[in-house]
């Protein structure tokens, strides 16, 4: 028989005014298993706690029920207290007779009856409590940041500055991401390269940061504190250990193929650096366009390389490393508008650019050295139409969400055109202008005053007439159709999650929202965490945002990583699922329902009669299980149960109420 001690708190008058504490104590004494019952003014106070400790000692109690305020208030307090006693901290139940009884009822007799019932339920549950022991897992003090854009760079630098090792992984041959492509940044118009390249160099040179460019994650195992991540380094065909980045090979390569960095606005050789300021500042060979690798002839780069860095036999290599924390910083891509918007020509007209193409066009280090000219004929445009919300706010053809940054960079593009080509007519077609940010509204205001013509209406059709691009729309403020004969059109297209995010998210068991952005653990209170312990979010992988928000988000993620890595080990809650192997039929229902991929089917040797058989049974990974108990409700045989909230315990509570 268990020896339960029941302690009823007055909470000053908070409880005692509405609940007859003495009656409650008297009735508790009658309950089976109760060895002692008492009351006190403030159970949570020093003397109150001492009283409990003394009673445990004196009456040899093995479990404790405290009737007081909500367990959300003092459960941890009392657990801590029990650590110094013979009673296991998890052999504790709290009857909530304040928030859920004395505060919400007025009739003292009825409230007392209810308090008695609540205590009865807790005692019944406590009788089935069992000792539980929090385990701790060691933490590998290294972080993996996936994605080398500004979010990844910022997170890596912050974590590295705090003294932890970081691997910064990027699938392209250079870090830098989208920000490296931009010309100027709103609303201050400082040059994007001038503020991002120093960060790239810092990341490249930081003693705590290891760059993993041309790398992709292929597999991951483990959990918070101990992720074993298998990474593939795609073949570079250039030995970066000896390459000095002199660039001779690039100038001699005979191949010309579309530059991905310039979004097809210029050509690059097959052996190339992504862009001149690339970090690492060493070239790689693109195996899809290299003549030697595709057709077996050429080999010019090998001949001209003074150091013999070229290695056509290079192969993809896989390696596995352990990390304590993961940061997703996988960023965004622009939606492929050409497949969606036939009414805009579906990509048939070369003088229609996306926002990022325009960034390259207007960028001093871009294909035209910053001259705004039409890709088709190299002429300066006299009239430019900027179309916002292409693919955004369009549930039918594109995405239902607002891409957040476009209103501001559309204004920036207008400003840049008016600045570089005074006298140009710039029309901005918009549905709403959204400028929530420091200095943003002022920037929009200035752009308007500088002469950008804002037309409220979504463009309906764009087609070519001679060398003009005709934009048909409605000026909804006038209620009249408008037709703009533009020389160039800039489409501010929607941000979408980077390709490959699906596989990566699935690998780590991280959830995605309806639009495939990574789902944060809580939209307000846990914006940089995922629901998987140890996996954090930085930047646009979580949703569209601009650079200031991205950097803030990345630093927040870094702070979370640092606070995790600062511990050498982590205590895990013992209230997790357990499997009674002999009852498990291996149906896998629990595996399917588990939101944390904490349950796997594992094969065990078993006997059926005299026969040895192999059969699958569920197995819970204690590092991944968060104790939600969904599996227990799904289990058909009742083989899986939740410690601390066992089926039997809850049923006892139910029975105790119905007595």
């Amino acid at each position: 028989m268990s020896k339960i001690g029941v302690f009823v708190c007055h909470c000053g008058t908070n409880i005692a005014n509405t609940v007859d504490v003495e009656r409650a104590v008297a009735s508790a004494r009658e309950l089976p298993g109760v060895a002692f019952a008492s009351e006190y003014k403030y159970m949570c106070s020093e003397p109150g706690q001492q009283m409990i400790k003394d009673a445990i000692e004196e009456y040899g109690l093995d479990r404790v029920v405290i009737a007081s305020c909500s367990p959300r208030m003092h459960e941890t307090t009392f657990r801590k207290m029990l650590k110094d006693t013979k009673v296991n901290p998890y052999m504790l139940e709290i009857a909530n007779i304040r928030e859920q009884c004395s505060w919400v009822h007025t009739d003292k007799a009825k409230a007392t009856e209810k308090a008695i019932r609540l205590i009865r339920m807790s005692v019944a549950k406590a009788a089935r409590d069992e000792p539980l022991f929090a385990s701790s897992i060691p933490i590998e003090k290294r972080a993996l940041v996936i994605g080398g854009g500004i979010a990844g760079i910022q997170a890596a630098l912050d974590i590295a500055d705090a003294g932890h090792e970081v691997a910064l992984l990027e699938r392209e041959p250079s870090i830098g991401g989208k920000m490296a492509m931009l010309d100027k940044t709103f609303p201050t118009l400082d040059c994007s390269a001038c503020i991002s390249t120093p960060k790239m160099v810092d990341a490249g040179a930081h003693p705590n940061i290891k760059l993993l460019t041309s790398c992709e994650v292929v597999k991951t195992e483990g959990y918070i504190g101990n992720f074993q991540v298998t990474i593939r380094r795609n073949a570079r065909y250039v030995n970066h250990d000896i390459c000095t980045g002199c660039g001779l090979c690039e100038t001699k390569c005979p191949v010309k193929t579309d530059s991905e960095f310039n979004h097809g606005l210029s050509k690059r050789p097959a052996i190339y650096k992504l862009f001149p300021q690339a970090v690492p500042s060493k070239p790689v060979i693109d195996k899809n366009s290299c003549l030697k690798l595709t057709k077996g002839k050429c080999g010019v780069c090998e001949k001209v390389c003074p150091l013999g860095c070229i290695d056509y036999a290079d192969e993809d290599r896989e390696f596995t490393e352990t990390f304590g924390a993961i940061v997703f910083a996988t960023g965004y891509e622009l939606i492929d508008w050409t497949a969606l918007y036939g009414e805009y020509g579906g990509g048939r007209y070369p003088d229609m650019l996306t926002g990022l193409q325009f960034e390259r066009l207007v960028n001093a280090s871009g294909p035209t050295e910053g001259h705004i000219v039409r890709p088709s004929d190299g002429k300066e445009p006299k009239t430019v139409a900027i179309v916002k919300c292409v693919g955004s706010r369009d549930p039918k053809k594109g995405k239902s969400y607002c891409s957040r940054a476009c209103c501001m960079y559309a204004a920036k593009h207008a400003h840049q055109i008016l600045d570089k080509l005074p006298g140009t007519r710039v029309f901005i077609f918009y549905i709403d202008v959204r400028t929530p940010g420091k200095g943003y509204e002022e920037f929009y205001d200035q752009t308007r005053k500088d002469g950008a013509i804002y037309v409220r209406g979504r463009i309906s059709k764009i087609y070519k007439d001679g060398d003009k691009l005709v934009c048909n729309g409605e000026d909804t403020l006038l209620g009249k159709q408008v037709k703009v004969m533009a020389d160039m059109v800039v489409l501010e297209t929607a941000m979408t999650p980077s390709s490959g995010i699906e596989e990566l998210a699935t690998m780590f068991g991280v959830a995605r929202d309806v639009n495939d952005w990574i789902q944060e653990a809580h939209p307000k209170l846990r914006p940089v965490e995922t629901q998987v312990g140890g996996v954090f979010l930085a930047g646009t992988c979580q949703g569209p945002r601009d650079i200031p928000d991205t950097v803030a988000h990345a630093s927040a993620a870094a702070a979370k990583v640092v606070s995790l890595l600062n511990k050498s080990e982590m205590e895990t809650s013992p209230m997790i699922s357990v499997v009674r192997r002999e009852h498990c039929c291996g149906c896998g229902a629990c595996e399917k329902i588990c939101p944390y991929t904490a349950i796997t089917l594992e094969e065990i040797d078993d006997r059926v009669g005299a026969k040895r058989v192999k059969r699958p049974i569920a197995s819970v990974n204690s590092g991944l299980c968060q104790g939600c108990g969904a599996c227990t409700a799904a289990c058909r045989t009742g083989a899986i149960d939740l410690l601390g909230f066992r089926n039997a315990q809850i049923l006892e509570e139910v029975d105790a109420l119905c007595l």
Binding site: V104, A630, I650
Partner: protein, 150 residues
């Protein structure tokens, strides 16, 4: 021992720790008043609530059962309450089949900030269950079983 013959119903409310239990605590903090009939059992997630718990409650003569959790999409454990939703649409039918008025069973989404909604729900369910009268369906059965236990 027997189930009391009274029209003061006993209602059990399985509340998830993260949303509804917090909401009920907040109702207390706000000193919102609701009937004494509602008794909360704390569970980590509404997805933890095994249909067996509900059947047991009704068998034992409990007059009403509530299962409350986070709003769909807000589950602390990301997906638990979706399962709750599906499971308890079926539950209603099962109860009906067993001769229990489905009006005795309610699944509701109440967030940690919705103290008012918790109070309203508690009042509403109590009123509805009171109208249905005591749950005597399994009384004989339960009584026999209990005396056999003793």
């Amino acid at each position: 021992m027997s189930v009391k013959e009274t029209n003061d119903p006993k209602i059990i409310a399985f509340c998830c720790n993260w949303c509804t239990y917090t909401g009920a605590d907040l109702a207390g903090l706000n000193r919102s008043h609701y009937p004494e009939n509602v008794h909360i059992v704390r569970v980590p997630c509404s997805g933890r609530v095994n249909p067996q718990f509900i059947l047991r409650a009704f068998r034992n003569g409990c007059d009403g059962v509530m299962v409350c959790g986070c709003h769909p999409g807000d589950c602390h454990y990301s997906t638990g309450n979706y399962f709750t939703r599906r499971r308890f649409t079926l539950m209603k039918r099962l109860l009906e089949y067993n001769g229990i008025d489905p009006g005795r069973f309610h699944a509701r989404w109440i967030s940690g900030s919705e103290a008012g909604k918790f109070r309203d729900t508690a009042e509403e369910v109590t009123a509805m269950v009171r109208k249905l009268g005591p749950n005597t369906r399994y009384r004989e059965y339960a009584r026999r079983e209990m005396s056999a236990d003793e």
